[in-house]
């Protein structure tokens, strides 16, 4: 279906550059128009986020951040409440890109520090980001660079730096892996003070890396990698895949990659160019990516203005295949079709049931049917259905499906349409049921 209306463009933008819109959020961005909305999302440094930062600081004080669940909760709180959704969406991108798992690092505070590093550099200069992550204790532990010693180098970091973080396979040799590993010898860390350069364990001899010979260290290796045009292309393609779809044309990709390299690897301008490219608003992009677990869960919560359910959300994400801070391996999660399996689909359907069926004091993840339909002033079953379908899937539903959903809501109902919203028991049952069904639709699983 086409990205026809302004409303649909903004909803699409908020799904891709964030975690979906709340009813009020869509209206806010709609007022400024698409281009200005992109700029507001991209130039997020100018958007005040003090309330969220204050709440995060409070959570850091109240929760035990030496454990993993609290730092997962804090990050989910950010995704849910932030006034800068693209900041969290980019932090998620880099977490997946520099995929580091606490299963091996074994120190949640180090994972939390890495999360801050990724957030601080999320839209900056890619070279700076690479040089920072190459000194990050969690990364150094994760890829064994803390034991990469002169005389018998450990190849793990150098290999993944090229294969997964910058150039992609096929663009370097096994010799480059070995020589690159030598350049990173002695890049260690100390638990208390962070990165340590151990001079005695660093190999100061000549190395030949990507065709150039010199007494290279890790920063020299990164500079040599940044000199390769393939690096700009690799990152531009991956970000395009993340925000738009998985089949950019060579022309588009070359344009983005050349501009990225020409800008000195300015990530912010690359992301802006991607979001403003015609591809972003094409039919090929609209509702064609599978929502990742946080996009799905945080998106559900935002749609119904649920602001405080972060204790249970990490478990939902984990069962759908995304345990934050624990990617399955250094290549990150398997996106797209990788999110779809019978087990994960049942988790997704059951999460929407959990959201729509909770009640009472424990209903922290629960929607309230009366409140939900009051937001769009609906009285008749048709108005309620239209409101929910617009809110959840931009109205991207075939007429036959509307007929099915309406029949479910009105089965056995004998009153007048206008009196429907006054039938409290039926509203409680069928508004919950129909919201569960809309969030179970294939279209709702798509970003």
């Amino acid at each position: 279906m086409a990205v026809g209306t302004d409303q649909r463009r903004i909803a699409h933008l908020l799904r891709r550059a964030g975690f979906g819109g709340s009813p009020g959020g869509v209206a806010d961005y709609l007022r400024v128009g698409f281009d200005a909305a992109v700029d507001r999302l991209v130039d997020y440094d100018r958007v005040p986020n003090d309330d969220v930062e204050a709440q995060v600081a409070a959570m850091e004080g109240q929760l035990d951040i030496t454990k993993l669940p609290p730092i997962q909760q804090i990050w989910l709180y950010r995704m849910l409440a932030t006034a800068r959704p693209l900041e969290e969406k980019m932090t998620l991108f880099w977490h997946d890109h520099f995929a580091t798992a606490n299963t091996k690092v074994g120190r949640p505070p180090a994972m939390y520090e890495q999360n801050k590093l990724l957030r601080a550099n999320a839209m900056g200069d890619f070279g700076t980001l690479l040089k920072s992550i190459s000194r990050d204790p969690a990364m150094l532990r994760w890829l064994d660079n803390n034991v990469n010693r002169k005389g018998s180098p450990n190849e793990n970091y150098a290999r993944e730096l090229m294969e997964l973080f910058t150039m992609g396979p096929g663009n370097y040799s096994e010799d480059d892996v070995r020589e690159g590993a030598r350049a990173f010898t002695g890049w260690f860390f100390n638990r208390e003070t962070g990165f340590v350069f151990n001079r005695n364990q660093h190999d100061t001899e000549m190395k030949t890396f990507l065709g150039r010979t010199g007494p290279w260290d890790g920063d020299d290796v990164i500079d040599a990698i940044l000199d390769q045009p393939v690096t700009a292309r690799f990152i531009a393609e991956k970000l395009f895949n993340y925000f738009v779809h998985d089949h950019p044309s060579p022309t588009t990709l070359n344009r983005l990659a050349d501009a990225f390299r020409g800008s000195g690897y300015n990530i912010r301008e690359l992301v802006r160019a991607i979001l403003k490219s015609p591809d972003f608003l094409s039919d090929d992009a609209y509702h064609t990516l599978v929502k990742s677990p946080p996009e799905l869960v945080v998106g559900m919560m935002k749609a119904f203005d649920i602001t405080d359910y972060v204790q249970g959300a990490p478990g939902l994400l984990r069962r759908m295949g995304m345990d934050l801070f624990n990617p399955p391996n250094v290549a990150g999660w398997n996106w797209g079709a990788g999110w779809i399996s019978s087990a994960s689909m049942l988790e997704r359907l059951n999460a929407s049931n959990q959201l729509t069926s909770q009640r009472g004091d424990n209903a922290k993840l629960g929607m309230d049917p009366a409140t939900a339909i009051a937001k769009f002033g609906a009285r008749t079953p048709q108005q309620i259905l239209d409101g929910l379908v617009d809110l959840l899937v931009d109205g991207d539903v075939q007429p036959a499906a509307r007929t099915q959903l309406l029949a479910y809501m009105t089965n056995g109902y004998t009153g007048s349409p206008d009196a429907f919203s006054g039938d409290r028991q039926r509203v409680d049952r069928t508004v919950r049921g129909v919201a569960h069904l809309i969030m179970s639709m294939p279209a709702y699983q798509m970003a």
Partner: protein
């Protein structure tokens, strides 16, 4: 972020799936006795593939303690001669693998030494792709088990013909016309509706099933979502019945592989005609401080397999189950300076079951005559092991499944 470009066949998948309404209950016995899917062991044999993710150090698993170069290459992490569980005077098992050694002595374990492929790739992800697609040159885009599932009774007939007991569907089971469920655990494999209105469950399910039966385009992820969700809803009742009907009397160890194999045993007890189960466990990327990690992993592996084989035996199915293991690569012969090992090449594969002709297959690769990256030269093409199992155990056509014929090793 892995966005798999191997999904080129998706349009084929959906077109093949569109015509046939899945009937969950049809059984493998629909297949003619001598036809495809039937080997000399019958048309109801089961293969359990165990994927060891991360690159398992085969050299410290099947220890060449008597071969030249072993102790020289591994002064710190090598297994002492006295600790090895000997199979021959030069080859033995890791000390934590006592249970597997017992199975070996019962003639139930075939070990294929030095399994690998030409021009080995040292990237985890590319090499795993090679093994999952049986395609060292990257030319084959469907999983190595997909054709078997599609042609011998899987497609549109028995949704449980194969099952991935993993969080996400393993690529080895992905291909045109194939819809394989992944079942992480029996407890969570169910559809929940609003418990306050029990009478609403069926109407909600009816609308959901209607939605998933609609056409969302031949080549779209939305279509894949719909089809997968529909298949999941179709299989829920059967899987839940399996969960309710069987409580294993066997005590499994507390280990991830054991949890998955226990789920396999529970599913097997429901007699759903499943021919292939796929499980995976990881942690083998031992670049540093390998010894403790490897002890734990191999001990857990050995104990898990032993518990599973006992469970299968008390179900009366010992003669119908074959377990095959692999990892995406082995590790470097020479240990590194951090008491670990870097990425390597060839490694042993285990094939386990009461029908196996036990023993060692293939020559142990030389530890001193190495390739240009100082790694082992492989002795047996892994596709030969796949082909042997497909042909000898599952009654499959090698050519159709693997695109070529490989030497049958005769181990089953």
């Amino acid at each position: 972020m892995v966005t798999r470009r191997r999904f080129l066949w998706q349009s084929g998948l959906l077109m093949a799936a569109a015509g046939a309404a899945p009937s969950f209950l049809s059984r493998a016995s629909n297949v003619l006795a001598a036809g495809p899917g039937s080997s000399r062991y019958g048309d109801d044999t089961t293969l359990v593939v165990v994927q060891m993710s991360g690159g398992n150090d085969g050299i410290n698993m099947v220890v060449p303690y008597g071969l030249d170069g072993y102790h020289q290459a591994r002064p710190n992490i090598g297994i002492a001669d006295g600790a090895v569980l000997p199979l021959t005077d030069s080859i033995g098992l890791h000390p934590q693998m006592g249970k597997l050694r017992d199975l070996y002595q019962d003639g139930r374990v075939a070990i294929v030494q030095g399994a690998g492929y030409p021009n080995p790739i040292l990237s985890h992800f590319q090499s795993m792709d090679v093994w999952q697609h049986a395609s060292p040159d990257g030319s084959r885009h469907e999983g190595w088990l997909a054709d078997y599932v599609a042609t011998t009774g899987g497609a549109g007939q028995n949704l449980m013909y194969a099952a991935s007991v993993t969080d996400s569907l393993n690529p080895a089971l992905q291909g045109p016309g194939v819809m394989v469920p992944s079942i992480a655990s029996l407890q969570t494999y169910q559809f929940r509706a609003d418990q306050r209105y029990p009478n609403d469950r069926e109407p909600v399910l009816a609308v959901a099933n209607w939605m998933y039966s609609q056409n969302y385009g031949a080549n779209t992820l939305e279509g894949l979502v719909a089809r997968t969700a529909g298949a999941a809803l179709s299989s829920v009742a059967e899987v839940q019945n399996a969960a309710a009907a069987y409580a294993s009397p066997v005590q499994y160890p507390n280990f991830p592989l054991a949890n998955n194999l226990k789920t396999v045993a529970e599913l097997m007890a429901a007699n759903m005609g499943t021919r292939i189960y796929y499980v995976a466990f990881g942690g083998f990327d031992t670049h540093s401080a390998q010894t403790n990690t490897h002890n734990r992993l191999l001990g857990g592996f050995s104990d898990s397999i032993d518990a599973f084989m006992r469970d299968v035996a008390q179900q009366g199915k010992a003669d119908k189950v074959l377990v095959m293991t692999f990892s995406e690569f082995g590790r470097r012969v020479q240990e590194n300076a951090s008491q670990g090992t870097d990425h390597g090449t060839a490694a042993p594969m285990f094939v386990i079951g009461s029908q196996v002709k036990g023993g060692l297959y293939g020559d142990y690769p030389s530890l001193v005559d190495l390739d240009g990256n100082r790694n082992l030269k492989y002795a047996v093409d892994f596709r030969s092991v796949y082909g042997t199992v497909l042909e000898g155990w599952l009654g499959a056509d090698q050519q159709a499944s693997l695109g070529a014929r490989y030497e049958n090793l005769g181990l089953v």
